[in-house]
């Protein structure tokens, strides 16, 4: 049973086709990285798949009711909005909104989930700081933790690693990979091909409004596909320390 099934998805914005006939499926245990140059339609694809924007075609998530969808998938948008100076702890607890009838104290079970999310994103020391006054990277971690606290079988995040320091970039990717090993799934857009090579179980490469490649990292991060999608040359080797991927030059 897949967590997301997208079939023939088309998105048109201002009379300009953004996505054409995109189809794929994400299964439990997969950590899928979504790659593609700027303007390839990564964000549109994720939002359309969630039913947050107008699209033709099928998406299993878009068909759900809002309440069911909120229990099926957690979404971390690219714009890292934190409108009010809410303490990190409470911000993360917002992830419990779909599961609670409203207001009041968090039940112990939910509090536990929030604690786990805080620990996973290394936010223990920041828990009582006002989230809106944290640095950009810290905010991103808090927002990922918020999505984790939604405790859904599937997690979608739009460039969660952007702006994080290297340690937290790696930590975040390892966290997604760990979720996948637990049997959940993650679908994450990113620009850091090196991180994608090392941590994702599968990559979808988007270019010119369509899926250019879809498969394990080795099958997608080929010099030929990289040249076609990004116009760059690359160095990609399997080393004793795992796969290493480095973009080299613009072609």
């Amino acid at each position: 049973m897949s967590v997301l099934r997208v079939a023939n998805l088309c998105v048109v914005r201002r009379n300009r086709p953004v996505l054409r006939d995109v189809s794929f499926e994400i299964n439990p245990g997969e950590f899928v990285g979504l790659l593609g140059p700027n303007g390839a339609g990564k964000t549109s694809l994720m939002r359309a798949a969630l039913g947050l924007m107008e699209a033709q075609g099928q998406s299993s998530l878009a068909n759900l009711t809002a309440a069911d969808r909120a229990r099926a998938v957690a979404w971390m948008p690219q714009s890292r909005e934190i409108a009010w100076p809410v303490p990190v702890e409470r911000l993360v607890a917002l992830g419990r909104i779909p599961h609670l009838p409203g207001g009041g104290r968090l039940p112990p079970k939910d509090q536990e989930i929030v604690e786990r999310a805080l620990a996973r994103m290394d936010l223990g020391a920041l828990r009582s700081r006002a989230a809106s006054r944290l640095s950009g990277g810290e905010q991103a971690r808090a927002l990922i933790a918020r999505a984790l606290a939604q405790d859904t079988p599937f997690l979608m995040a739009d460039e969660p690693a952007a702006g994080l320091d290297p340690a937290h970039q790696i930590g975040t990717m390892q966290m997604f990979a760990a979720l996948a090993r637990e049997g959940r799934s993650a679908f994450v857009s990113l620009h850091d091909l090196g991180l994608a090579a090392r941590h994702c179980t599968r990559l979808i490469l988007l270019a010119d409004g369509g899926v250019l490649a879809d498969g394990p990292p080795d099958a997608v991060l080929t010099p030929d596909l990289m040249a076609r999608a990004f116009g760059i040359s690359v160095w990609h080797e399997h080393t004793a320390a795992g796969p290493v991927f480095q973009p080299l030059e613009v072609l």
Binding site: P77, S79, W84, I97
Partner: protein, 327 residues
């Protein structure tokens, strides 16, 4: 948070009693309160029941409504500058009320006045959301507010000046500044259903407003129906502000000052801010209404004078902070 709620809940009845004992007629506090419950005090009983009681009740009711409406609008627009008075919702409501009074709609139909004010407020909120919806920044919001206020103010003046009633032309001050003087229990019964219905609607928006802290996309993905939220917000705000303005004129700044002061106490969480802002709004309007009576006991000093003297500097401070935040 609970301490704050308890504190505010205690202050409201204390101020209520204080307000009941204040008035140009110099009567001891004990006598005035006793006269409220006994017919033995002659005209004082009448004064207490028909003048001071409605005034005190309206201060609580309208203050709570305005505080709540401010907190809800700010939560939805994610902007601490959103306030019914400043963004033209109150002036639109006043326009509706003036229209109802001067066309005879208010005299022809018991609920004509508040309904017309509600309709005015609906147009006001609708325009604000249209022009400066959640994606619009502070500047758009303030500009939209200026435009809507100016338009509503001009139309209000026009209606009042066109009125064949010679007194009408001088009433613009009341509609712009607001007052609770010389209202009767009839007015309480007129405004109560509108503020109550609006408040119930707004108080139920807490979850959605909390989720909106993270932006529209995140809120939607957490199961919040944004269209429904928007509709409830518009109607709830219009009902509260319309009802309040129809009876007391446009009282500004309460919805700005109260949530701003109380936000740190609830750790910025919009849902928790709703209840405390309602209580805080009641406290602030009670204080303002006590102040106008202490400063000028025998004249009708407008409430907006006091609320603006407190609120305008705070508003400037907020604009300054917002500017720094952007720059």
């Amino acid at each position: 948070m609970t301490k704050l709620m308890t504190g505010l809940s205690l202050v409201v009845p204390v101020l209520f009693l204080l307000s009941l004992t204040l008035g140009p007629a110099e009567v001891s506090a004990g006598d005035s309160l006793a006269a409220l419950f006994s017919d033995d005090y002659g005209p004082l009983s009448l004064v207490m029941r028909e003048i001071r009681l409605p005034r005190s009740v309206l201060a609580v009711l309208i203050g709570a409504g305005l505080g709540l409406a401010g907190a809800a609008m700010q939560g939805y627009l994610r902007n601490p500058l959103a306030e019914p008075g400043l963004i033209g919702v109150s002036s639109s409501a006043a326009l509706g009320a003036v229209f109802a009074i001067n066309t005879g709609l208010a005299t022809g139909m018991a609920l004509g006045l508040p309904i017309a004010a509600l309709a005015g407020a609906l147009i006001g909120v609708g325009l604000v959301l249209l022009l400066a919806g959640p994606q619009g920044g502070s500047i758009t919001l303030i500009l939209a507010g200026i435009a809507i206020s100016a338009m509503a103010g001009a139309l209000t003046s026009l209606v009042l000046n066109l009125s064949p009633n010679p007194f009408a032309a001088n009433e613009i001050v009341f509609w712009m500044m607001g007052s609770l003087a010389d209202r009767s229990m009839l007015h309480v019964w007129l405004v109560l259903p509108f503020v109550a219905v609006g408040a119930v609607i707004l108080l139920r928006l807490g979850r959605g407003l909390d989720a909106l802290t993270l932006g529209e996309d995140a809120a939607q993905s957490m199961g919040v129906n944004l269209n429904r939220l928007r509709l409830m917000l518009v109607f709830g705000t219009a009902s509260v502000v319309g009802g309040a303005t129809a009876i007391a004129g446009a009282i500004g700044f309460i919805g700005l000052v109260v949530p701003h002061i109380l936000r740190p106490f609830v750790h910025g969480q919009p849902s928790r801010l709703l209840w405390v802002s309602a209580l805080g709004g009641a406290v602030m309007l009670q204080l303002a209404d006590i102040a106008v009576r202490v400063i000028l006991p025998t004249r009708d000093l407008k409430l907006g004078v006091v609320t603006a003297l407190v609120g305008a500097p705070l508003f400037l401070h907020l604009i300054y902070k917002t500017r720094k935040g952007q720059g």
